[in-house]
């Protein structure tokens, strides 16, 4: 006797970062639960999403090696590939797919890349920086690995809302720049608060023997910022967008060098 088998129902979660809701679908409910836990605080309860991604979990077949990341534009879609995932995203249809093994880190990388691509169109970018909101204003602390991003986050006073200790999310709206909370974390291993505030200042971090703040202007400011912006895509149009965004940002937001001794007194100086 023939039996009817209902197709497996796909589970989904909508992760909304920076006001961009992305629906993530998988036929593995346990992986969707993993997404919901990983992105707690950024899960949208709305049924509407601006972008849809299908996730295919593969037990084997993708090497988890150290293959370099490749992000390129091909035939109307972005192709993203690394040792642990393959993904594509079509901006015209707002749809994409991700092929990865069952781990949250690959998805995290894809989301970071997708957000850099989406942000660039509106003059925004992701930058290696911790960020926090205090008294309604956002402050970014930017630097390479080891510069003190997480240290500044750890030293933040109780009334500061931490947006991230690793990757700051910068958006542009009506000639102003805003910092937005993200679930992208570093050594602190804690998602930022899902908040948004106008950026008051960017500090380029340098460790030293005394606390010191120096203004940086012109080419030096642009160089300092561009050196920390995330450029995943080796694409001329994308690079131009982000390059121009960095110049515009520096013309509107003060950039300062913050040399600091890692203790709580530094926050008395920066705010």
């Amino acid at each position: 006797m023939a039996t009817l088998t209902a197709p497996a129902e796909r589970s989904e979660a909508i992760v909304e970062i920076g006001g961009l809701p992305i629906r993530l679908r998988s036929d593995d409910p346990s992986f969707v639960r993993l997404i919901q836990m990983r992105y707690a605080g950024y899960i949208s309860t709305s049924v509407e999403a601006s972008f849809d991604f299908e996730i295919e979990l593969v037990p084997h077949g993708i090497d988890a090696g150290d293959q370099d990341l490749s992000v390129r534009w091909d035939s109307g879609r972005w192709l993203m590939e690394r040792g642990d995932f393959r993904a594509e995203f079509n901006p015209s249809t707002a749809r994409g797919r991700i092929e990865q093994t069952c781990n949250p880190y690959s998805l995290d990388s894809v989301l970071r890349i997708v957000h850099t691509l989406l942000l660039a169109r509106g003059g925004g970018f992701l930058v290696h920086a911790s960020s926090a909101i205090r008294n309604g204003r956002a402050f970014l602390f930017s630097g390479v690995s080891g510069a003190g991003k997480t240290t500044m986050a750890r030293l933040a006073p109780p009334d500061a809302a931490l947006l991230t200790d690793e990757i700051s999310y910068v958006t542009r709206s009506e000639d102003r720049y805003f910092a937005v909370g993200t679930p992208f974390f570093g050594e602190l291993a804690r998602a930022g608060e899902n908040l948004r505030a106008p950026i008051e200042c960017v500090y380029l971090l340098a460790k030293g023997l005394e606390n010191k703040i120096e203004p940086i202007v012109g080419a030096e400011a642009v160089r300092g910022l561009l050196g920390n912006i995330l450029f995943f895509a080796r694409d001329a149009e994308f690079v131009k967008l982000v390059f121009d965004a960095a110049f515009d940002f520096v013309s509107r937001v003060p950039v300062r060098r913050l040399t600091f001794v890692p203790d709580t007194r530094i926050w008395e100086l920066v705010i």
Binding site: A219, R223, L226, R234, K240, F247
Partner: protein, 106 residues
């Protein structure tokens, strides 16, 4: 080094002037380069149609106190280095330019 090269800016770059300097980013490597004042004069003058030697004579030597021989030697070294990083194209013949060429934004 090509003798008497024609020079053009690559399309796979982003560039912008800031004061007397020009900042150029390679789209293929995201590497940032800063050109000084004289290099900026050359960068702005290369158009694929004018030989480098003519650019040096008419733009560099006209503005700066430097002999044509030394200026040309320096300019050749500069364009060669920028070409190695994919920022400039060098050719023995004039280089046709696309309709939209990356120029330095004001």
């Amino acid at each position: 080094m090509i003798e008497k090269p024609y020079v053009a800016r690559s399309t796979a770059i982003a560039a912008r002037g800031l004061g007397d300097e020009t900042m150029v980013m390679s789209a293929t490597s995201s590497t940032l380069f800063t050109l000084d004042e004289v290099a900026t004069v050359i960068w702005n003058a290369v158009d694929g149609a004018t030989p480098l030697e003519e650019i040096v004579t008419k733009r560099v030597c006209a503005q700066y106190e430097i002999t044509p021989e030394v200026a040309l030697q320096d300019a050749e070294l500069l364009v060669e280095q920028l070409a190695e990083h994919g920022l400039l194209l060098l050719s023995e013949k004039p280089i046709p330019q696309p309709s939209i060429s990356p120029k330095v934004s004001p």
